[in-house]
């Protein structure tokens, strides 16, 4: 039990939750406006790769961060155009984006940086300790030497909840995901709101990718997201398509992962412990949470001329 009182466990839970919570909230934005988005994995990879590449080329991790977000936003804009304007099957498109991005980033890594991988002198994003909070016993570990993106994520969780559920534009975005015809009749531009949802979602997913490559490390590796985009998809559904719920689900995954790592030192098979987050999810989904209901018009293209 002394493992559970180790503050380091809770600090790493938070750190592990970041690359899940950001794409999960990103997916929430997209699906709340009615576009099914399983492309988080690919968009994360784009953000992660171009974040590192531009950080190295410009010598500034912040410029890298910005460029990573722009590339993620661009890729999701292409996805949005095909999904909204061309009414393409969104699940198929999502798979296409994921495979394309995994291939492109691996290809560019090889052709630009060669077999040595990204250069070790690439600048990394800074870590930060919050002055007063970090000196509180126990909770202090949350706020000590965490990547600056951990705090950014916490702000994004609160902001996106407020934005989606307490502002007029948030209400409008949700309305085109529930009943686009009614929203259109009320004078809203369904397509424009959906573009906004998907692209905001893409930028948030890319931020999750940048966290992996520039927040924790300063390098990119082939397929470094390692399925996190898909787990984020699960966290989004688990969190019932809300930012706070997505964050809570991501914390649960983060906790199970962190616990697995902590218990490894106690002679229990890492492989068996690694199953924890997955089994926990199934149990929670089948037992506690039950039916999660997607937005009513999720995945259905809207044709305003009809």
């Amino acid at each position: 039990m002394n493992i559970l009182t180790n503050a380091q466990l809770w600090a790493s839970t938070l750190a592990m939750a970041v690359p899940l919570a950001l794409p999960a909230i990103g997916g929430t934005f997209s699906e709340r406006t009615g576009v099914v988005n399983i492309a988080m994995e690919g968009i994360m990879l784009m953000g992660a790769f171009f974040g590192v590449a531009f950080s190295y080329w410009t010598g500034s991790a912040w410029v890298g961060l910005l460029c990573g977000l722009i590339m993620g936003g661009l890729l999701s804009a292409v996805f949005a155009w095909a999904a909204i304007r061309l009414a393409a099957d969104q699940v198929v498109l999502g798979m296409a984006i994921n495979i394309f991005a995994a291939g492109l980033t691996a290809f560019l890594l090889d052709t630009i940086f060669g077999f040595g991988g990204t250069p070790p002198q690439t600048p990394q994003l800074p870590t930060l300790s919050i002055p007063v909070l970090s000196s509180i016993p126990f909770i202090g570990a949350f706020f000590t030497n965490q990547s600056v993106l951990v705090y950014v994520m916490l702000v994004i969780v609160v902001l996106s909840h407020w934005f989606l559920f307490h502002t007029r534009i948030g209400l409008r975005m949700r309305s085109v995901g529930e009943n686009p015809l009614a929203a259109d009749t009320a004078g809203l531009n369904v397509w424009r709101l959906r573009y906004a949802g998907v692209i905001i979602g893409g930028v948030l997913s890319a931020l999750g990718g940048v966290y992996l490559s520039l927040g924790i490390l300063n390098s990119f590796d082939v397929n470094m997201t390692n399925g996190r985009g898909y787990i984020a998809l699960a966290a989004m559904i688990f969190g019932k398509w809300t930012p706070l719920g997505s964050f809570a689900a991501s914390l649960l995954f983060g906790f199970a992962t962190a616990l697995g790592i902590a218990l490894q030192n106690h002679g229990i098979s890492a492989n068996l412990l690694g199953m924890l987050p997955y089994l926990l999810t199934i149990l929670a989904l089948a037992g506690l949470v039950g039916r999660s209901k997607a937005p009513a018009a999720d995945g259905i293209p809207y044709n305003p001329q009809r």
């Binding site: 009414a87 393409a88 290809f107 199953m275 999810t281 199934i282 039950g290």
Partner: protein, 360 residues
Amino acid sequence: MKHIMRALATPVIASLLAIIIGGIIAAAIGYNPLQVYGALISGAFGNAANIGYTLAIATPLILIGLGIAISFRAGLFNIGAEGQYWVSVMAATWVGYHFTGLPGWLHVILCLVVAMLVGGLWAGIIPGLAKAYRGAHEVITTMMMSYTGILLCKYMIEDGPMRKPGYIPESYPIPQNTWLPTLIPQSQLTIGIVIAIVAVVVVWFVLFHTTLGFQLRVVGSNPRAARYAGIRVPLYTVLALGISGVLSGLAGGVQLLAIDHRLAEGFNTGYGFTGIVVALLARNNPFGVIVAAVFFAALSTGGQNMQQVTNIPASLTDVLTGLIIFFVAAERIVPQVIQWYKRWTSRASTSISEEGPKPA
């Protein structure tokens, strides 16, 4: 005939578009696109051994893609075929190196049946029942079960009971009399491909010529209508996911008996994810699955040859795959581009007529 042509038009145009874009990418970084594609094609189909290799890789893709197509037909997305495949390989390996006293043919059948059973249970029991009776989303549960299954396999050969004493984490091998016979000598192509094609015909027959198949498709296309028609939707949910898992399991069993012969590290084959793509490109048509599986297998084998011959990274084929699927999904891209072109040319001609002929 016209019907078939129309069905083929989109995938063919999509593939052509992707090949052109891939060629531009290759040319942009200084490779000769013709040489690159030449190496790709000869690597996939250049001689009997290469064809055999391509078809050997296509075999598990056909079976897994077929299973995923069935789940799509029932309106379910089985994203966890990779794990179903691996637990089946594990179970068949266990049966394979126990019970060695059996005659070879019986032992082969036993391995395949166990693989199918385990794959079916892995997909049908937890994800199937959780979806049918608790509404738990199958995308999450099948994926979680997939990760769990792969970790279970790793446990078995790294620290568990199936580990063969020695330095390399791997299981005991299965006896040689259970290996599937090869069709082309000196190649990996076995009668596994025949098993896959038989499975395609069976699935096609069941889907389109039996009540079971009809009801499964009704549940997929309109669950509410299915309920009103008295179809037991929960039963078909479990069945569809279960059958899907059975086919992933068969893929694992065949792969074990044909090529792997033991459970060893290397769990990131990606067959489960490529299987999804195969089903999507085939538009869930059983015979289309064969074409799509051979196509992606060719990209894989051809890509390896391409990397050896021209030094261009094999990941270029993943870029191509992504583009192809993108263009298949966004099939309206062609009329859209034609419309843009027409608008552009008509605007250009009207602007000329407004301004009048330009002075020379």
